[in-house]
Each structure stands twice: as C-alpha cells, then as structure tokens.
Amino acid sequence: MLLELEFEIEPGNFILAGEASSKIKETLKKLGVKPEILKKVAIVSYEAEMNIVIHSVGGILKAIISKDKIEVIAQDNGPGIEDIELAMKEGYSTAPEEIRNLGFGAGMGLPNMKKYSDYFEIDSQKGKGTRVYMIIYNK
C-alpha cells in the first residue's frame, strides 16, 4: 500500500511556505511513524519546500509513503542549478540579500537534505529545472 501526498508550491510565497511539509509531518504522525524517522522527513521536506519557494519559479513537493520507506520528491520548473557540486557545499547560497535577511537561504538546504536522507539524488538542468529525490527508510 502506498500513500501519495502531492503539493503545489508557490514561488516566493513565504506566508504559505512550510505548509506542505507540515501536512506531510502531520500525516506521518497519524501513521505512527517513529520520532527519529519523522524528524528526518520533517527536515528534508521543509528544506526542499523552502528551496522551491526561494529559488524556483514554482514546482511540486511529493511524499510517497509506504511501509518501509518514505520518498520525498521535489521537482521545480526552473531555472535549474548551474553548478551542483558548488550548490551542495555547506554555506554556499545564491539566495538574494532580502531572502537571507529573512533568515532563509543560508546555503544549508541541499547539504541538510543530503545529510538527513538515506538516499539522495539531485538532477538539474540550467534553464529547465531541478529534481531532488530522497529516500528515508522506515526502520
């Protein structure tokens, strides 16, 4: 059995930012997923959602929940990442000043997503979009 949750994420909307990951979290709590697992999913889905809000022109956040794993997929419609290796560095950020002033875009998004997921895959094409695929095993 699979549960699929999908949310559309609006770019630049900081008021709504975090709602999708909140709903994912809430669902996992209803399902009785263990606290350690919940914590990881909470962080990666929130970071993924924030990345779409801050950097993209919009996209979707998806969670596919099954008995043994939770897959989190963040897919946006551009503009894509020029240098993935650089983007994966802690503290590296392309977020504009005003967003940093809000306390976001500290360049920890992608590194954190990688750190807290058991499997991490990123795919990006300049001018097209970015897709992050993460798995957190439910052990």
Binding site: G18, T27, K29, K30, L31, G32, P35, K39, A42, Y46
Partner: protein, 443 residues
C-alpha cells in the same frame, strides 16, 4: 502511557455550546448529548478550556486546604506566581500569611527555580544535549510534546521542575533539622496550574513526586487576603531572588539563565506553532526554548486570580526591588546546593519520557494508512465548514472519529439533511405512485 488528567466538567453548567472543543490544542473534547466530554488520554491539562468556557463549566480538581492536616508537619510551597496575586510590597507578608493558614513552614518554589537555573546552566554546557533545549518546567507543554511532537522529546530539558526540587529540599531540610520522618511531612504546592496537579499524580521523568498535594491559588486567595490585613510584624522568611520570582512570568526562566540565544513563547497555541518550526530544523541558533502553556506564563494560570497583565507587572516590580540584594540571595542558592551536596545527576530525570500515541490512527502502519485514506474519503464528503455541530472540533476530526468508530457520518447535520432530502424526494415519488389495482391508463 497513562495520562490521568485533572480537568473536569460540571455537567450542570455545560450548555454544549462547543466553544471549548474549538480551542483544545489536542482535540481532546467532544460534545455528546449536549455535554462536553474530555477524552482522558488526549488531555494535557493546559487549562485552555477552563479559560474558554463562557459558562465556567470546566474546572480542575485540586486538594482542599484541610488535606494538610493529614500530616504532622506541613510545608507550603508557593509558586512564584502566588506573589503576583496580591498588592504587597513585601513578599514576607505573603509567606507569613501562609503560616497563618496552618502551615508550619514555607519553602519558596522561586528559590528552587534558582537551583534549577543553576543546574540548567551546567546542562547547557554539557556536550550531549540536543539544541534547542526545551524547558520542562511547564508540564502541559511537556505533554503537548509527548502527544503532538514526539520527535522533540529528546530536546526536553531532563531536569526536575522547581516545584519538585522545592518539595525535595524542603522535606530533607525538615527531616534534618527537626528529625521528623519523611512520611509525616506534607509538602503542598500553592498552584496557579492544573497541569501540576496531574504531574503530582503521574510525574514526568520521575517515578514519584515529593509533592503531597496541590492547592489552587484561587482557593486560598480570600483567606490570604484577610490574613494580610491582620499581619503586623513579620519575620524575614523569603530567600528567593528576583530571578527566581521572575519565573512566574513568561521569559523569566530564560532571563535567569543569562543566555542570549533563547526564545520564550506563551499560550499553548503559540507554543505549538514554534515547536513546529523547531521540528522543521529552524531555530537552529537558539539554545533554549521556554514555552509556557498559559498566556503570560504561570501568572496566567487557570487557578490564578489576578489579571495576568497586572500580575506580570507586579512580578517585574518585585524582582527589581530585590536587585541590590541579588548577590546575597544567590549565595543562599549555593548554600542550599552545598548543604545537600546536590549535583546535576541528582536533579536529572530518572526515566525517559514516553510518546503518547493517541493521535495515531492505528499502531500498525499499513492499517493506519488504510484508515488515513478512509478519513480523506469521508472528509471529501463533508462540507468543510468546521462548524462543530457534530460535536467534533473540525470536519477532519469528525472524519477521524468516524474511522475510529466513535461517530457516524450522519452526525454531520449537512449529510443528515442531504439524506433527509433524498428520503423526502423518494417519499414524494412514492406517494405519486398508485397501487396497481387503481392504476389505469385511459388512453
């Protein structure tokens, strides 16, 4: 996890207005047969429903003052917020008034708060803690975390609350000074708080509580006031500093810790919002999170009398009045710590906090997933008005209640109406039909 709770309903007064079900942070209340009903395992005793009910139908069970007479030696443990209930310039008068009520001794919870601060500072410096450290002083917040934020349990400060430390030290002190056996000494918390009552019955992080009873501030308020008028010369009884007394209001605990990276939040719904953010990995720069269920902090507790804003101001005034004595008063703190050779280990939790899984749909994840889908299907049929007429706080909770088997879809008045409409249409249709014996086709 057993979760006894202290908040009760006065059935006579309850009108079933559904105001309380809407405000409950854990969706623990339903209205059935025009009366509110609290789901025991869900209630965290935050007191929100006591404050919300326009008919004062919700109350907390606490001990009566007579209870103290069961003990040979009676100690009052006034909460810091107790000081804020009265217009006095000298805390000693208040402590003296408590003695006049029949107590043999007082030990200020505010002093114990300073001891807790002392050890919390040590804990913050230790390597093994998870940041942000979440204060464990408010039992309603701890229970909220156990119920709704299980992944934050490991962030909770595993140190006994000031009330508990006060009871422990006060009893040891009397045993030592007067040679009275421990079970003959009764320690009574003079409380603004319903959640502390629950704590005493089923402690958090400990097997047993040293507190023998909890007496509501509102129940002694009148008595203390009348005693205050009679008191002429007073003995110096108070040894608490402004920092300890400051714990009564939101932010006081953090202030006492003298760190800069803290966040203090009051009001259970606000606390829940910030806990969400902590869950998301935000507030990473924050070392300490002080969340208090009551608005304003303990001064806004459901068993306190004075307006919380006035009370907060008094706390501020009392604290600043003690400014010059601060040094000698904190020397007291160390003297107590030394004389009982207390160490951090002595005040640490004895057992881990458990999660309270009442919000789970099922303990088996696959079955929970099935139920989750069912909830969503039912939810899509409900109007989404969250009107509360069904007795559940929201359409979503009703959908869950249905899946859990506690409610029916026809509890929703809109669905009931739809069904009735359908039925009525059918009846009209049927009533237009003639029995075959009369049916005639004239054409």
């Amino acid at each position: 996890m057993k979760n006894l709770h202290s908040i009760m309903l006065d059935k006579e007064k309850c009108k079933g207005c559904t105001n309380c079900i809407k405000r409950c942070p854990t969706e623990a209340i339903r209205v059935r047969n025009s009366k509110a009903r609290i789901i025991d395992q869900r209630c965290i005793d935050c007191g929100e429903c006591i404050r919300t009910c326009p008919y004062h139908a919700k109350y907390a069970i606490t001990d009566s003052l007579e209870e103290i007479n069961k003990f040979q030696y009676k100690i009052a443990l006034p909460a810091p917020s107790f000081y804020a209930q009265f217009e006095v310039d000298d805390v000693n008068k208040l402590l003296y008034a408590l003695l006049e009520l029949g107590f043999d001794d007082v030990f200020e919870v505010a002093k114990a708060a300073e001891i807790v601060t002392y050890f919390t500072k040590q804990f913050i410096l230790s390597e093994k803690n998870k940041k942000p450290i979440i204060s464990s002083a408010c039992p309603a917040v701890v229970r909220l975390i156990q119920t709704k934020f299980p992944d934050l349990i490991e962030n909770i400060l595993p140190i006994a609350s000031p009330m508990e430390v006060a009871a422990y030290i006060a009893k040891k002190k009397i045993q030592r000074e007067k040679g009275i056996e421990e079970d003959k000494i009764g320690a009574f918390f003079i409380s603004p708080c319903a959640a502390k009552m629950t704590y005493v019955n089923s402690p958090l992080g400990f097997e047993r509580s040293y507190v023998d009873g909890v007496i509501a501030i509102k129940d002694v308020y009148g008595l203390v006031r009348s005693k205050l008028r009679e008191i002429k010369d007073i003995k110096p009884l108070s040894i608490a500093s402004g920092k300890g007394i400051g714990w009564a209001a939101s932010g006081g605990e953090s202030l006492a810790l003298e760190i800069e990276e803290y966040v203090n939040v009051d009001g259970i719904h606000n606390v829940a919002k910030v806990l969400e953010e902590i869950e998301n990995g935000r507030l990473k720069d924050i070392v300490y999170f002080e969340g208090l269920a009551c608005s304003g902090g303990c001064v806004g507790g459901p068993l306190a009398v004075e307006n919380p804003y006035v009370a907060k101001n008094r706390i501020k005034r009392l604290s600043s009045k003690l400014k010059d004595k601060e040094e000698s008063l904190s020397a007291w703190t160390e003297e107590i710590i030394n004389s009982f050779s207390l160490k951090l280990e002595d005040v640490l939790f004895e057992k881990e906090l458990e999660t309270n899984p009442v919000l789970e749909l099922d303990s088996d994840i696959e079955r929970a997933m099935e139920k989750f889908e069912k909830v969503n299907n039912i939810l899509s049929m409900l109007p989404g008005l969250d009107c509360g007429a069904c007795g559940s706080p929201t359409c979503k909770t009703l959908a869950e209640d249905i899946v859990r088997g506690f409610a029916n879809d026809t509890d929703c008045i809109f669905i009931l109406r739809e069904n009735i409409k359908e039925l009525a249409n059918k009846m009209v249709e049927l009533s237009n039909k003639l029995p075959p014996s009369l049916e005639r086709n004239d054409e």
